[in-house]
């Protein structure tokens, strides 16, 4: 019982650590990974890389 609880705990820790490692975390000085998503108004595909050569302020937000 104790061993399975320990295993579960370790698994949970691993999962949490893994999940946190994969979270969005842009770092100053590193090149931002590209992303392509549809626009909310016309579903046209837009990539971040389209704006190479321009300074960009990327704003992650929600209307709520």
């Amino acid at each position: 019982m104790f061993r399975s609880l320990l295993s579960f705990g370790l698994l949970s820790l691993t999962l949490t650590a893994q999940a946190q490692a994969d979270s969005y975390a842009p770092r100053v000085g590193q090149r931002h990974a590209d992303l392509t998503l549809p626009r909310i108004d016309n579903r046209e595909a837009v990539s971040l890389s389209q704006y190479r050569g321009r300074k960009v302020l990327l704003i992650h937000f929600a209307s709520w």
């Binding site: 969005y24 909310i40 704003i59």
Partner: protein
């Protein structure tokens, strides 16, 4: 956000800066309405499934001409001096990573069937959910389910599965359990990653006021009115936010003890065929004694019988009868009638319930809806009652 939008307008006009938004909400039209209201014209991208894995918003990232991150959460006061006026060199290593899946769902489908890994099936689900039409939601749900079967710890797949369930719930292809399945999937995901605030917000959006950090879409009415006053037509919202989605947070529970039942003798004829189908979703899915939950009742005219609401008579009413020791915020709820004499829209009503301190097992509330409906065009119109049992599973303190 409006602060940055206002401050950056001149920089954008001068060609010194590009603003690019990414929204993490399910409904793109709501964000479009917000943008119209605020006069935002820069592109906003839609990430309904949290493909980017942002754990909260807002996050602002300043990127130079080479795509290199020069600031995270920059300060407005020093933005021009520290970023716009500055020259940067291309000194970072290449980054070939992609935060979003490729768009070719056929290729991703082949890859998933060949590799048969959790990652490949999740990527297929991602592409279907982001790029395809609502008709492909069934396929996205199957892909995520397969990903979870292969790796039950795939929390991203669990959250995104929930998003697809909720999206399908808002289409004509909805399954009875979609909304409840959505909440359960979100809870499963959040259980493994409790600091994921984007995931947490999805549950709070539909949850009780005690759980809310802020009202989510209470700005919609004001935005529509102000846009109309400007002489513009507001962006149309396919699903109007109501109930939990516009409720203000509250730290107190005010119970409705005064309303009287509209059918105390149970005399109204029951909808036995049924002409209207009802589903119940409780958020959160399990509640502790003494705590509160939001109960959502969805009423849908039966498509196979071509049922429609008769809006020329009194509106649909929902009566809720809590057991002793339990309380509800409203015992009598009234649905907004359709705008035409006959309509067949989905009607959503929700209220909050406070569980009795000594409750255990599964709580049961009795409720019924009264409505005027007609069967097919020119068919018989009836005044009917539908009894809607509401079950609330309780978590008992150990």
């Amino acid at each position: 956000m409006p602060v940055w939008h206002k401050a950056a307008q001149q920089w954008v006009k001068d060609g010194r800066l590009v603003l690019l938004g990414v929204t993490q909400e399910q409904h793109p039209e709501r964000c479009s309405l917000f943008a119209q209201w605020q006069g935002i014209q820069w592109p906003i991208l839609h990430d309904p499934i949290n493909a980017l894995q942002t754990t909260g918003v807002p996050i602002l990232v300043a990127l130079d001409e080479y795509g290199i991150v020069r600031g995270v959460g920059p300060r407005l006061e020093s933005f021009e001096r520290d970023f716009l006026d500055k020259s940067f060199a291309d000194g970072a290593a290449p980054n070939d990573a992609k935060l979003t899946p490729p768009r070719d769902t056929n290729a991703l489908g082949r890859e998933a069937r060949t590799a048969d890994t959790s990652d490949s099936w999740r990527r297929l689900g991602d592409a279907l959910a982001i790029w395809e039409t609502p008709r492909q939601l069934d396929e996205a749900i199957s892909a995520y389910r397969h990903a979870i079967r292969l790796n039950s710890a795939d929390l991203n797949a669990r959250f995104r599965l929930g998003v697809c369930f909720r999206m399908r719930h808002e289409t004509e292809r909805r399954h009875e359990s979609d909304f409840s399945d959505a909440v359960r999937s979100w809870e499963d995901a959040l259980g493994g990653q409790p600091n994921q605030y984007i995931w947490r917000r999805r549950i709070q959006q539909y949850g009780p006021r005690l759980m809310k950090p802020y009202p989510f879409y209470d700005w919609v009415t004001q935005a529509r009115n102000e846009i109309l006053q400007r002489g513009e037509l507001p962006v149309l919202l396919p699903v109007l936010p109501s109930g939990a989605e516009i409720a203000r947070p509250s730290r107190t529970f005010v119970a409705d003890e005064s309303s009287t039942s509209p059918d105390p003798q149970g005399a109204i004829r029951r909808d036995s065929r049924p002409l209207i189908e009802a589903t119940v979703t409780v958020v959160p899915t399990q509640v502790k004694p003494g705590e509160t939950a939001r109960v959502h009742v969805t009423l849908v005219p039966a498509a196979e019988r071509k049922t429609y609401w008769n809006n020329e008579a009194e509106p649909l009413r929902l009566w809720v009868d809590p057991p002793p020791g339990w309380h509800v915020t409203r015992r009598l709820l009234v649905a907004r009638p359709g705008e035409q004499p006959e309509t067949n829209e989905v009607r959503r009503l929700d209220f909050e319930v406070q569980v009795a301190e000594d409750a255990a097992g599964t709580g049961r509330l009795s409720a019924f809806a009264l409505y005027y409906v007609c069967e097919d065009v020119g068919g018989t119109c009836l005044y009917l009652r539908k009894d809607i049992p509401i079950e609330i599973p309780l978590v008992t303190a150990e």
